[in-house]
Amino acid sequence: MKNKKAQLGEITIWIYRFIMIIVVVGSIIAVIINNYSTPYDVRPLEASLLSSKIVKYIQEDPARLNSDDIKKIVNIDEDIFINITLENTNVALGKDLLNVMCATKSQTKKNMPYCFNDSYPLKGLNEKNLTIAIAIGKSQKNA
């Protein structure tokens, strides 16, 4: 004759075992997915390198602050927006929508561009400030 209390205990132990398996396997899968599915976001590095390249480029010859010359070093066909300001001169290139998204700080974080703003004093130009704003999209490849 089977002991009913013992049977109940056995069922409880099996439920506990199943829950344990689900928790262990689920956690392992979650950690692996989290590690392998997040792309390596290089946009902060891209923005920083691009801004220093633009600063050096303009520093060599301030007359290069025009869209034609900037296009020689930057591929503006990509998902990018650049705004460069030096005193009264302003050069804006690329996709305006990215700039708007940066300004409005859209709630949809998934497709948000990376927004970069910095200001650099230019040597030999009475330390005039060169302001650079860069917005890089490419969110599907980076975030």
């Binding site: 692996i32 792309p39 891209e46 691009l50 591929n75 066909d77 990509e78 890089i136 490419k138 490849k141």
Partner: protein, 108 residues
């Protein structure tokens, strides 16, 4: 006298714990070996190449076993021909040429 039922339950418990332990160990070993094998992923390599194109004007030579092709203004990096690879568009202006396993980047 030995109790058979007790023995059975003890055996089940041990087998169950052993299975969990083996699964955890296998996952950990495969995870660590993957991380520790220093294999660079095509994604990382393509992005690093794009970062290089933002360096100062000049020529850079890189030795690589990856299959690298310049497409539009980005890099398509594959491990093998059958591999779909990873494409990353670059924002720098450059030219790229591959001879054997030597990749030459001319940054503008």
């Amino acid at each position: 006298m030995k109790q058979k039922r007790g023995d059975q339950i003890f055996l089940l418990h041990s087998v169950f714990s052993l299975i969990i332990l083996v699964v955890i160990l296998l996952v950990l070993v495969s995870f660590i070996s993957e991380r520790g094998s220093e294999k660079i992923k095509p994604e990382v390599f393509a992005k690093d190449l794009c970062l290089l194109t933002l360096e100062d004007k000049g020529t850079i030579t890189i030795k690589t076993d990856f299959l690298v092709t310049k497409e539009q203004n980005g890099f398509l990096v594959k491990r093998k021909d059958s591999d779909p690879g990873f494409f990353y568009p670059c924002i720098g202006q450059f030219d790229a040429q591959k001879n054997g396993n030597i990749l030459t980047l001319e940054i503008k």
